[in-house]
C-alpha cells in the first residue's frame, strides 16, 4: 500500500472523532477524543511515507476497535457523572439543577448540629 493521501487521513481523522463521540461514558469519550487529536497532530509533522502508511493502517485497525467498544459501552450506559450535569444545567439554563445534591451534602447531617451547638 502506498502512502495515504491527505483526504484519506482527514477522512480517518473525522471518522475516529465521530466514533469517539459515541462513547456513552464521559471519561472514555473525552479520552479518545483527546488521544485522537494528539495522535493526528503528531502525525501532521510526519514526512516519512513508510511511517505514514503504518500510521494509517494502525489507525484503520483502531477505528474498528473503537467502533465495537463504543457500541458495548453504550449497551451498558450508566448514570451521568456529576460534572456532566453541571454543564447540562448551565447550557439549558436550569438554575436549581444542582440544589438537591448540594442540599443533601450539607442538609442531612450537619446544619441541625451547628444550630444546636450555637
Amino acid at each position: 500500500m502506498s502512502a495515504p493521501t491527505r483526504s484519506q487521513v482527514l477522512g480517518l481523522y473525522t471518522t475516529m472523532l465521530r466514533t469517539s463521540r459515541t462513547f456513552a461514558s464521559y471519561n472514555f469519550r473525552n479520552y479518545f477524543l483527546r488521544r485522537t487529536k494528539e495522535k493526528f497532530r503528531q502525525y501532521a509533522s510526519e514526512t516519512d511515507p513508510a511511517k505514514a502508511t503504518q500510521f494509517f493502517q494502525e489507525g484503520v485497525k483502531e477505528l474498528e476497535v473503537l467502533r465495537r467498544a463504543a457500541v458495548v459501552n453504550r449497551l451498558y450506559e450508566g448514570p451521568k457523572l456529576v460534572v456532566e450535569k453541571e454543564r447540562l444545567g448551565r447550557a439549558a439554563g436550569f438554575g436549581g439543577g444542582g440544589s438537591g445534591m448540594e442540599a443533601s451534602v450539607g442538609g442531612s447531617g450537619q446544619p441541625t448540629g451547628s444550630q444546636r451547638v450555637a
Binding site: N27, N30, Y31, V72, P79, M101, S114
Partner: protein, 481 residues
C-alpha cells in the same frame, strides 16, 4: 443540653408516615447501593399504588399478552455518579481491553491446555501472545512470566515460596514497613513458621535508607522484598540501587511488588536486577482477577508452589489459565507500553493542577511522601479536619483515605505512621488517584468541592478557631481538668 433540645425537635417531627425526614436522616449512613455507585438521596420508595398514568399509556396491553400484566420497572430518579479519583484501588477497564477479551468469552472458548484440537490451540496462542506483551513491558523473557489471580497471589506465592524452599539453610527475610498488607501478612505468617523477618523503617519522605538495608542483610537472608511504588503515598523506591546492593550478596533474591508501578513508570528487570516481581491486571486498566509473577529463570530462582495440581505454568501455579482474562492483561500491558509516555505527561499535568488548585486556596496542607513519587498518587493531609468526615461530606467524589484494604478500620494508615506522620495528620489524610481517563473538568470540580468542604469543616472546628487565635495546640495538656 443537647438532649433537652433534641426532644422537642423529635416531637415536632410528623409521625412515621413521614418518608421525608426518615430519608434525610438515612442519607449519611445508608451504604451506596451495590448496583451503581452514585450520588443519590436515598428516600424510601413510594407506597405501591396504581401505576403512573404515563406508564399505563405507554404499555397498552395487546392481545398477544394473553392477559398477563407487564412488570414495568419504576424509572429511577435521575442519579449522578461521583467523580472517580481512586485509581490506586482499581482502575476502569480500558474499552480496548474489553474488546480484545470478548472473543474469548464468546466464540473462542477453548482451554489453552488442550493439545488435541483447534479450540485449545487458538486459546494457547492467545495466551502466549499475552505473555509476550507482559514480558515486553518489564523487559523480561516470555517464559519468565507466570499468570496468577492477581498481585496478592503473586506476592504470597513468591514470599512464602522462596522462603520455604530455602528454609533448610536460610531463615531470614527483609521487607519494609510501608509494604502492602499482603506482603506484610505473608511475612507475619512466615514468622509464625519460625522465620525471622526484618521490617526496614523508612525516612520521612517514604524512601528506605540503603545503609539500613546493607546492615540488615545476613548470611542467612534468602529474600529482600521491596515495593516499587507505594500504594498510599506514590513514593518510588530506588530499585536500581537496591538491586545492585542485594545482588552484591550471593544467594539473596530480590522481589519487588510492582502492582502500582507496572505500566506507569518504566521498569526493567535486568536493569534493576530484579529476580521476582508481582504484577496486577486491574491497576493497569486491565481486568480484575488476573495478575502475573515474574520469576527469573537465568539464573534460576526456585520456589515452592502453593498450589499443587496439573503442573501448569512451570509447575509453579497449577490450574487452568483463564484465557480471556490473560488476553485482557496482555492487551492492557501492550496499551500501557504504547501510552506510557503520554499517560505520564497527562497524569503529571493533572496532578500539578490538583495540588496547585488546593494548596493555593487552603492553608495547612501537608503532602505525605516524597514529591518525586508517582504523580498519579497524591496523598494530602488536611490539618484540623477529620479524614472520615471529609470523605462523608465529599459524596460526589470517590476518594479514599488510604488503601482500600484497610479503609474499613478507623485506624490511621500504618504507611503514614511509618513515614513519621503524627496521629492527627494520619487521620486527616486523603489519597487522590489520577489516571488515564481523568479530565481537567473533573479535577477542577474536585478542587472546588475540597476547598469548600474543608473550609466548612474548619469553620465548625474549635481547634481551627484556636489556631486562628494563635494558640499552639500541641502545647495544650488535654487531660487536665
Amino acid at each position: 443540653m443537647l438532649t433537652r433540645q433534641l426532644a422537642p425537635l423529635r416531637l415536632r417531627r410528623p409521625l412515621p408516615s413521614t418518608s421525608r425526614s426518615l430519608g434525610s436522616i438515612r442519607t449519611f449512613v445508608q451504604p451506596t447501593p451495590a448496583y451503581h455507585a452514585s450520588v443519590q438521596d436515598v428516600s424510601p420508595a413510594p407506597p405501591p399504588g396504581p401505576p403512573a398514568p404515563e406508564v399505563e399509556a405507554h404499555f397498552t396491553p395487546s392481545a398477544s399478552m394473553l392477559g398477563f400484566k407487564l412488570e414495568v420497572p419504576r424509572r429511577e430518579e435521575s442519579t449522578l455518579r461521583p467523580i472517580y479519583l481512586d485509581v490506586q484501588a482499581t482502575a476502569p477497564m480500558d474499552p480496548r481491553v474489553l474488546d480484545a477479551m470478548l472473543p474469548y468469552y464468546t466464540d473462542q472458548y477453548g482451554n489453552p491446555h488442550s493439545r488435541t484440537h483447534a479450540y485449545g490451540w487458538e486459546a494457547e496462542k492467545a495466551v502466549e501472545v499475552a505473555r509476550k506483551h507482559v514480558a515486553d513491558l518489564i523487559g523480561a523473557e516470555d517464559k519468565d512470566i507466570i499468570f496468577t489471580s492477581g498481585a496478592t497471589e503473586s506476592n504470597n506465592m513468591i514470599i512464602k515460596g522462596v522462603a520455604r524452599f530455602h528454609k533448610d539453610k536460610k531463615n531470614h527475610i527483609i521487607t519494609t514497613q510501608t509494604e502492602h498488607k499482603c506482603v506484610l501478612d505473608s511475612c507475619r505468617k512466615l514468622q509464625e513458621e519460625g522465620f525471622e523477618v526484618t521490617y526496614l523503617p523508612v525516612q520521612e519522605n517514604g524512601i528506605i535508607r540503603l545503609s539500613d538495608l546493607a546492615q540488615a542483610i545476613r548470611p542467612t537472608t534468602s529474600l529482600v522484598s521491596i515495593m516499587a511504588v507505594n500504594n498510599e503515598t506514590g513514593v518510588i523506591q530506588p530499585l536500581k540501587e537496591i538491586g545492585a546492593l542485594v545482588k552484591s550478596h550471593r544467594g539473596v533474591y530480590f522481589h519487588s511488588d510492582c502492582a502500582q508501578a507496572v505500566g506507569k513508570i518504566p521498569l526493567d528487570v535486568n536493569d534493576a536486577q530484579i529476580d521476582l516481581m508481582s504484577i496486577s491486571g486491574h491497576k493497569i486498566y486491565g481486568p480484575k482477577g488476573v495478575g502475573a509473577a515474574y520469576v527469573r529463570r537465568r539464573p534460576r530462582v526456585r520456589l515452592e508452589p502453593i498450589l499443587s495440581g496439573g503442573g501448569q505454568e512451570r509447575g509453579l501455579r497449577s490450574g487452568t489459565l483463564p484465557a480471556p482474562l490473560i488476553v485482557g492483561l496482555g492487551e492492557a500491558c501492550s496499551l500501557a507500553q504504547r501510552e506510557m509516555a503520554s499517560d505520564h505527561a497527562r497524569v503529571s499535568a493533572l496532578s500539578n493542577r490538583l495540588i496547585h488548585g488546593i494548596t493555593s486556596q487552603v492553608s495547612h496542607i501537608v503532602r505525605n511522601g516524597a514529591a518525586s513519587g508517582y504523580p498519579g498518587c497524591v496523598n494530602l493531609s488536611f490539618s484540623y479536619v477529620e479524614g472520615e468526615s471529609l470523605l462523608m461530606a465529599l459524596k460526589d467524589v470517590a476518594l479514599s483515605s488510604g488503601s482500600a484494604c484497610t479503609s474499613a478500620s478507623l485506624e490511621p494508615s500504618y504507611v503514614l505512621r511509618a513515614l513519621g506522620a503524627a496521629e492527627d495528620m494520619a487521620h486527616s489524610s486523603l489519597r487522590f488517584g489520577i489516571g488515564r481517563f481523568t479530565t481537567e473538568e473533573e479535577i477542577d470540580f474536585v478542587v472546588q468541592r475540597i476547598v469548600s468542604v474543608v473550609n466548612k469543616l474548619r469553620d465548625m472546628s474549635p481547634l481551627w478557631e484556636m489556631v486562628q487565635e494563635g494558640i499552639d495546640i500541641s502545647t495544650i495538656d488535654w487531660t487536665q481538668h
